[in-house]
């Protein structure tokens, strides 16, 4: 390699680096997926991801590792070239992709049962989330991860009850009792507490409403009475002739 050639190559590399730097975002693998929905524990969930720019910032040949917390998960990964021709496929959690095969796109479909919740937190619902799918290099760094909220029927009902009590303006103390029951997975109790908290809040509000309506009614009565008085005064026949 002559000096000139090599200097040309260096220039090209520099230019390429600048160009890449300018584009910036193209330096990572891209994923296209709908964010996974909140799902009840025990239900089967299916999640699809489409991966492009497969070799950006990755070796020319690497192994895609699909990791999940879904129980009894089945994974299917299909690699296609630009023309959409399938070039590689895997029915387990790993798929080797090589730029030499012209891999352009990898579709990943994962299906499994939503796992049970080990620890509940009303205040930080994210802590109840589970990992639907994590894409990483096999034995390497993680590339992307999707999480999903999950619930059990009992926990969801309790949560709804507590939220509703909050909206109704239940007292902080009552709410705390319900929440701590929730956090300790005593959902039936949490729901009861939340509902009674809401009831007493509503009762209080009702009382206030009654008071307010009473006040309004009083004002209306006074107005009507006053109006009638004025009307009467006006109506009072001051006519001499009729």
């Amino acid at each position: 390699m002559s000096w000139i050639r090599s200097s040309k190559a260096i220039t090209a590399v520099v230019l390429l680096v600048i160009a890449l730097g300018a584009v910036g975002t193209a330096t990572a693998v891209s994923f296209d997926a709908d964010s996974p929905e909140s799902t009840e524990v025990g239900e089967t969930m299916t999640f699809n991801v489409e991966m492009t720019d497969v070799f950006e910032d990755q070796p020319n040949e690497w192994t895609v590792d699909a990791n999940t917390e879904l129980k009894g998960a089945t994974v299917q990964m299909i690699a296609e070239d630009v023309s959409g021709e399938e070039v590689a496929r895997s029915d387990n959690s790993e798929l080797q992709v090589s730029s030499e095969d012209g891999v352009n796109r990898v579709t990943i479909e994962i299906q499994g049962e939503v796992p049970g919740i080990s620890s509940y937190s009303y205040e930080n619902p994210d802590e109840q989330n589970f990992k639907v799918l994590e894409i990483s290099q096999a034995d390497g760094p993680s590339i992307e991860e999707w999480q999903a909220p999950r619930y059990t029927e009992a926990s969801q009902e309790a949560r709804n009850a507590i939220e509703s009590a909050e909206d109704a303006g239940a007292s902080e103390g009552d709410l705390q009792n319900a929440i701590s029951s929730y956090n300790s997975e005593n959902f039936g109790n949490a729901q009861d507490l939340a509902e009674s908290a809401e009831d007493s809040a509503a009762g209080e509000e009702q009382t206030q409403q009654y008071l307010m309506f009473g006040g309004i009614a009083l004002v209306v009565i006074v107005l009507i009475g006053g109006g009638y008085y004025v009307y009467q005064q006006r109506q009072e026949n001051t006519s001499k002739l009729r």
């Binding site: 026949n237 006519s239 001499k240 002739l241």
Partner: protein
Amino acid sequence: MGKTLIGAMVQHLLKRNMKLAMIGFGQAGGKIVDKFLEYDARTGSGIVQSAIAVNTAKADLMGLENIPEDNRVLIGQARVKGHGVGADNELGAEIAEEDIDEVQGAIDSVPVHEIDAFLIVAGLGGGTGSGGSPVLAKHLKRIYTEPVYGLGILPGGDEGGIYTLNAARSFQTFVREVDNLLVFDNDAWRKTGESVEGGYDEINDEIVRRFGVLFGAGEVTAGDNVAESVVDSSEIINTLDGGGVSTVGYDTEAVEEAESSGLLSRFKGGDQNDMETANTTNRITALVRKAALGRLTLPCEVEGSERALLVVSGPSEHLNRKGIERGRKWLEEQTGSMEVRGGDYPVQEPNVAAAVLLSGVHNVPRIKELQQVAIEAQENIDEIQQESEENLESLVEDDEDELDPLF
């Protein structure tokens, strides 16, 4: 504005409406005087200078609303214990004579120098008012120089012979004792199918309105326009002077009141175009006819009335000299009297009214009928009394007249 005010003040000095001391005798009289007070206060008419109620029935006096308690005089307590005379007007007259000092005691509080006349109001069919009011009239005439007028209420035709008899006798005496007897006939005002009893409120309103407009004429308040020929108390007194029986006709019509009273309407009034003037004139003459030919307080023939007074009342922009003069002329023709007075009585309200006072009326079939029925009733009563005496005699006496009385 200044000119108007001065005009009004001058007018106020020269002309004023009737100020009356009213005495309601008996229940009907008390109620009507009570109502006059209410009308006075409600309309600001200023007719009633003093109001007194006299009765033999305590309950009737207590039922009054506007007459001051001190002016309610209960008479005949010694004889009827506050229970009324029960349509015995001879007893009513006797009691009035006996207790006239008690009545006078109340009249002593009347500022007589401020009144134009006394007006005694009574139902002539009952006992207390029927018998007492002629007695009171006679008494007042003896003591005061002010004229004493009566307002007598005739009974409804369905009230029975004794009421008719009472009324006929009282009427005769009352007319003789007063300077003029204004008459209102309940029978003419009874609504068909309605007993007079139920309709007294409306009837009393009618009475008070008609006489109120008449007696109120001449009253000038600061805001009133200077009318062209305002009626005043002297004209009413002159019309009533000469005595006899009087009746009042009345009619009213709603008109649009000028939006602004005062200066603007005065200019407008000055600007009244020919069309409006003709309308105003026609309205007034039509009202006068309807008043005189419509229902009078005592129905009678207009022709033959000795004197008459026409009062046309309404907002001044709806009054004009021409209309009143035509109405007055028409009344002259109708009555055949040369003594027909007329004038206006400006008020600020959206009505125009004509009040016609016919004084010294002669042709009154109702009075003749009343007397006829009364005579029959009198005969009946005598007959029944005689019969019952005979019956009692034939019951008590033994046929052969063998028994001797004890002593």
